[in-house]
């Protein structure tokens, strides 16, 4: 076992240490999963097999990352280990085993299992707000686990609780210990969850997507915290995520799952540098990288049906000073009002004095964390919110000050794709009705037949079968629904398309497909995009120019390559430094 030196070459960099360890600390694993097979009963006749007989080990004192997209079965696996699956409709095959300390956890009586939960093996979840009990104080919930497993009570328990809060980095623990979860921020809530989980010095910490719901800067802090705690307490961590970049930062071992099966597993170095499985390879390549910009993102099909993407030429992006401007936004502001005092109002400025120009045929990326106001900018330009101040000049006219009936003519020229593919299509309409409706409203097409034909054409263009016309949204996956939303927008032949976190809710492979589609449409129709996202890598890939927002204001605007290489403002620098680089990123940086 290699010696532990404190820190690596860079502050907060853990990966350099990771690479020094090449094998397990001791030869017998802490937990052994053998032939885990889990099914769910959907109704009286059908069962659905979510996990199809997987086996892997969790070595002592190391971090194992369980990676997969939605539907891969990774969360189900982790819940099964602690017996937390709903007993009414989950069926675990009797030959499955989860071995810990010589015992099969799946076969333990509940009383025994309870002694292990929270003490030997503990778990933290994705949504800290709902995972904490809202009606009990933070201190009470911490002390509960101490009462249960360590028999502590009274002042002793309270003191230990405060120590734990301090250890996880909560400021002013004496005050916070009596707070309720709703009074803490998302990052602080997750820290409290972690404190509860490590309170009894567990041997294994299972972390189920703990940072997915957090902003990227907070994510970095939480990842560091977990890493530090892992080292300090010498425990193992099973880290479940869909984000390969995160995995690259923290994992010693990687297990890749797809559709209930393990596609690849092994030490991180092996998986990242020489992946053997096609799906793993595809996953590694599909995600937009910060240092490259291929003309088309590779998609899974490229790998499964062939040797890989052949076209590796890169696309140049940038805005030149004499590019034509299609939209000129000046001093945009939006305030929300809430009641205060007896008769007063309180103003919350979501957007403060934002000005920018959108070049024709190009993409402007709008980046920020939650609460930065980026989504509000998009909605206000669409007049879905009424702007408080400012103008948006399009073809010589101010879109924001027109009357609603005047604006009707311009509505078709600027369209929006929303984030949540499951909420943006009316579940009671067929796909055909969804696509044809804008045509009916704006009088496009001279007959029903002509509109139907146009709809078929658009479905083809976005890569869906024509028969989709007759189906309902619930029969389609997230990526397909976004395509339908895109087709709906295209019926009106807009000039400007606002993509409001349009790929954020999609799996990595699907994300690549939709990004490619958007790029193809821009190339063909000369559309101008405003691409709003919190995902910095995606924004860099698709944008010509990037605008960083924080707290309602623009922090910096520059061409995308420029801003990533030489960020000028401190906030931008901090934002960029928080991006998980993944395995390759770390290596690239380490060898600079």
């Amino acid at each position: 076992m290699s010696a532990r030196s404190n820190g690596g070459d860079q502050p907060g960099s853990m990966s350099s240490e990771r690479r020094m360890r090449t094998g397990p600390s001791t030869s017998d694993p802490l937990v052994s999963v053998r032939n885990l097979r889990i099914s769910f009963r959907l109704d009286r006749q059908t069962t659905f097999e979510a996990v199809k007989g997987i086996s892997f080990d969790i070595p002592r004192n190391s971090t194992v990352a369980l990676v997969g997209e939605s539907g891969s079965g990774k969360s189900v696996t982790s819940l099964a280990m602690l017996g937390l699956l709903p007993p009414e409709n989950s069926i675990i095959d009797p030959s499955s085993e989860v071995l810990y300390g010589g015992r099969n956890l799946l076969a333990l009586p509940v009383g025994e299992l309870r002694k292990l939960r929270g003490a030997d093996i503990s778990m933290i979840f994705q949504e800290p707000m709902t995972s904490l009990n809202p009606v009990f104080t933070v201190g009470w919930q911490l002390e509960e686990v101490l009462r249960l497993h360590m028999g502590m009570s009274g002042r002793k328990a309270r003191k230990r609780a405060m120590d734990l809060l301090r250890e996880v980095g909560i400021p002013e623990p004496e005050r916070r210990i009596d707070s309720f979860p709703s009074q803490l921020s998302g990052g602080q809530q997750q820290r409290v969850m972690i404190a509860m989980a490590i309170a009894c010095e567990p041997k294994l910490l299972i972390a189920d997507e703990p940072t997915t719901a957090l902003d990227v800067t907070i994510q970095k802090q939480i990842l560091e915290l977990i890493g530090d705690l892992q080292k300090k307490h010498q425990m193992s961590v099973l880290f479940i995520t869909h984000d390969l970049a995160v995995v690259g930062e923290i994992a010693d071992y990687v297990v890749v799952m797809r559709n209930g099966e393990i596609r690849e597993q092994g030490p991180a170095k092996a998986v990242f540098e020489s992946p053997r499985d096609t799906y793993t390879k595809a996953l590694l390549m599909c995600r937009p990288q910060l240092d490259r910009r291929p003309a088309r993102l590779p998609v899974i099909d490229d790998f499964i049906n062939g040797p890989g993407p052949r076209n590796t030429e890169e696309r140049k992006r940038g805005v030149k000073p004499n590019d034509a401007i299609v939209l000129d936004v000046r001093n945009l502001g939006k305030s929300f009002y809430s009641r205060e005092g007896v008769f007063g109002k309180r103003e919350f400025k979501a957007v403060k004095d934002v000005s920018f120009q959108l070049p024709k045929g190009k993409t402007l990326g709008l980046v920020g964390e939650s609460g930065s106001g980026k989504t509000t900018v998009g909605l206000t330009l669409m007049r879905l919110h009424e702007a408080t101040t400012g103008e948006a000049i399009f073809e010589g006219r101010d879109l924001l000050s027109m009357s609603p009936s005047e604006f009707m003519q311009y509505k078709r020229r600027i369209q929006i794709i929303f984030q949540n593919p499951y909420a943006s299509l009316n579940p009671r309409f067929t796909v055909g009705q969804i696509i044809v409706e804008p045509m009916q409203i704006h009088g496009i097409g001279s007959s029903a037949q002509e509109r139907t034909d146009m709809a078929f054409e658009l479905l083809n263009k976005v890569g869906l079968a024509e028969v989709s016309f007759y189906k309902y949204p619930h029969e389609f996956s997230g990526g397909q629904r976004q395509r339908i939303a895109i087709a709906r927008c295209l019926t009106m032949k807009p000039d400007i398309l606002i993509c409001d976190e349009s790929v954020s809710a999609l799996d990595v492979s699907v994300q690549a497909q939709v990004l490619n589609l958007l790029q193809d449409l821009q190339d063909e129709f000369g559309l101008s995009y405003i691409f709003i996202s919190h995902d910095l890598a995606v924004v860099k890939y698709i944008s010509d120019q990037v605008m960083v927002m924080n707290d309602g204001e623009i922090v910096e605007i520059a061409n995308s390559d420029e801003i990533y290489r030489h960020p000028k403002m401190p906030y931008t620098q901090r934002l960029l430094a928080s991006i998980p680089r993944g395995w390759h990123g770390q290596r690239a940086r380490a060898s600079d």
């Binding site: 602690l82 937390l84 009414e88 309870r114 002694k115 292990l116 939960r117 929270g118 003490a119 503990s122 778990m123 979840f125 949504e127 709902t130 995972s131 904490l132 009990n133 809202p134 009606v135 009990f136 509960e144 686990v145 249960l148 497993h149 309720f180 709703s182 009074q183 969850m193 509860m196 809430s338 009641r339 205060e340 005092g341 007896v342 008769f343």
Partner: protein
């Protein structure tokens, strides 16, 4: 907080005015001239004219409205048209008996229903759960009238365990002798709907993420139910209880009528039968006001009980 209360009090005024208008509309406009009603009860024409003049029946509507508002503010609605007792006196004396029946009833019903709801939620999905729910559904489908008739017949008339009707003078005698059977009937009728409702509240909580966290910490199912879930489910339960408080003032008027308990509910029925407008108007207006004020209290209680709520 103080600002919130002040703002709410200010907002209550239009509602109270609306209630006054509604009652006025019903009784002065639709109801119209009460002469025909009074004719059957008071033979003295001069007396009738007197009353009509007091009510301002021959005056324009806005004058009548003014008279009514004055009555509301001064809490003086004159005298009952049938018994000539002062309306305010009627209200004061009838409140006690109503509460004597209804308050113990609500306390017992809530405690029993919560206990049963937790027990049933514990075994959710099982045969017991479904059987209990079906029994509740059937129980709910039998009219309260039937319960009253049958219980009164079996337990009071036939078996003689309870008095058939009546009311006494001392509080304790009332509570234990006269109110017992009414409370029993009230329980039989209230537990079924309460149980269904509370079961839903409890089940909503059981499916929450924090329950999964508690299990992951090693908390036992019992503790989860009785400590974690109950504390959260108590929020909608308390809110529901607070919303039902104004109904308490009315008493269960069917029970009061059958058992001749001199409560407000029975007063209402008698007043409606006799078309005794002043009594009905007074009770309606005051119960409405009590409801409005109780709503504010309910919201404040909600804030006290649920740390997530911020009153604005």
């Amino acid at each position: 907080m103080a600002a919130y209360i002040v703002r709410r009090l200010w907002q209550m005024l239009p509602t109270m005015l609306g209630v006054i208008l509604l009652v006025f509309f019903l009784f002065n406009w639709v109801g119209g001239d009460p002469a025909y009603v009074l004719a059957g009860k008071i033979s003295n024409q001069e007396q009738i004219d007197n009353i009509r003049r007091q009510l301002g029946v021959d005056q324009p509507y806005w004058v009548q409205l003014g008279i009514f508002i004055k009555q509301v503010i001064t809490a003086d609605f004159g005298a009952s048209w049938s018994t000539n007792e002062r309306v305010s006196n009627i209200l004061m004396t009838r409140l006690g008996p109503s509460l004597t029946v209804v308050v113990p009833l609500v306390l017992l019903a809530t405690l029993i229903s919560i206990g049963l709801a937790l027990a049933v939620a514990y075994v959710r999905g099982s045969f017991t759960d479904r059987a209990v729910m079906i029994v509740c559904t059937v129980g709910l489908s039998i009219s309260i009238l039937v319960y009253i008739i049958v219980f009164q017949y079996v337990f009071a008339y036939k078996l003689g365990w309870f008095p058939v009707q009546g009311w006494g003078d001392s509080f304790w005698e009332n509570l234990f002798v006269y109110a017992s059977l009414p409370i029993l009937i009230g329980l039989a009728v209230s537990i079924a709907p309460d149980l269904r409702l509370y079961r839903t509240f409890v089940l909503d909580e059981i499916n929450q993420d924090y329950v999964r966290t508690a299990r992951a910490k090693g908390v036992s199912e019992n503790q989860i139910m009785w400590i974690h879930v109950l504390r959260n489910a108590s929020i909608p339960i308390i809110t529901n209880l607070m919303a039902g408080i104004p109904g308490l003032l009315l008493g269960s008027f069917l029970i009061e009528r059958f058992f001749s308990i001199p409560g407000i509910g029975r007063e209402v029925i008698l007043a409606v039968e006799r078309s005794d407008f002043p009594v009905i108007k007074a009770i309606t207006v005051y119960v409405a006001f009590a409801t409005i004020i109780t709503n504010l209290l309910a919201d404040l209680t909600y804030k006290a009980v649920d740390p997530r709520v911020q009153l604005k």
